[in-house]
Symmetry: C2
Subunit: 146 residues, 2 copies
DNA sequence: TATTGTTATGATAATCATTATCATTTGACA
DNA sequence: TGTCAAATGATAATGATTATCATAACAATA
């Protein structure tokens, strides 16, 4: 974890940004909750426990900056709230999500799986793909069979 | 078009809903702009030209109802505004989108292309898929090569 | 160490897409 | 025609997010 933070610091510095204590606190929370798909408000509440002076606007700004730098991925499930995930290091594509309609759980697929599809899209539609978002809604293995 | 409206009316009636003049006006606009990915505000402005008494809240409610009944698909591109598309009749899956980062144009892919991926997801993750959303961000054929 | 200039912050106001509220209207049915 | 429940329109309210502004913090330089 400390090494990850050090590397994020270097990423920020390489673009003339600073890793302020507030930004570090946000990164720590994201690292401690890598599986959780936190909203900005979630992040704020968690950071505030350890860094009470932080402002909500700062959390939003930090998440936005990290998203622009592709350190963080911003996810929309269409419910009016954005979610933020630390991007896995070295990840060359956005991971996919399985959203359970029963329990609301969100599982992740790290595998790309879209290689063939992207080839078809690039060739048939002449579309130069930079990023993709794939979300499945359905019933998860926990709720399945009930 | 009239036949499509008649069929939508039947769909509504089969669930004890009415096709009021306001709802019909909304459906007409959606039918006339099938390729356009209209926001609720877009729909409202277009409907108002022909049906000036309509209220914005009614447009929202109508779009929401049509979405629940799967007559309309609600799309999120992560920009804070929902878009609404009439679902193609008989469509068994949600179509995909190509969003151009340069000009903002949104193109559609009607083909599923996800058959193999879905098989893998259902078997490996034991996830019973009900719906999916796939969006590609990149450079469209019009902006490509500039 | 002090100074300077720029970035970043926190509190809070503002914005905007959307939903809730309420009085009234409308449509279906007997 | 009367009744009742659904639907409407206007507008207030909501909540996620962004803008604003005074101030703090930080890095570089003398």
């Amino acid at each position: 974890m400390e090494q990850r933070i050090e590397r994020i610091k270097k990423q920020l510095h390489s673009q003339s940004y600073k890793l302020t204590p507030q930004r570090e606190a946000v990164v720590r929370v994201l690292l401690e909750h890598e599986e959780d798909h936190l909203s900005a408000e979630d992040v704020y509440m968690l950071v505030k426990e350890k860094y009470p002076e932080i402002g909500l606007a700062t959390v939003y700004r930090t998440l936005e900056l990290l998203t622009e730098l592709k350190i963080v991925d911003k996810i929309n499930f269409g419910d009016g709230v954005s979610r933020y995930d630390l991007r896995k290091e070295g990840a060359t594509h956005f991971h996919h999500h399985l959203v359970c309609l029963e329990c609301g759980a969100v599982d992740e697929i790290q595998e790309d799986l879209l290689g063939d599809v992207e080839k078809i899209v690039e060739q048939r539609w002449k579309f130069d793909i930079k990023d993709h978002r794939l979300t499945f809604h359905g019933i998860c293995h926990r709720c399945n069979g009930r």
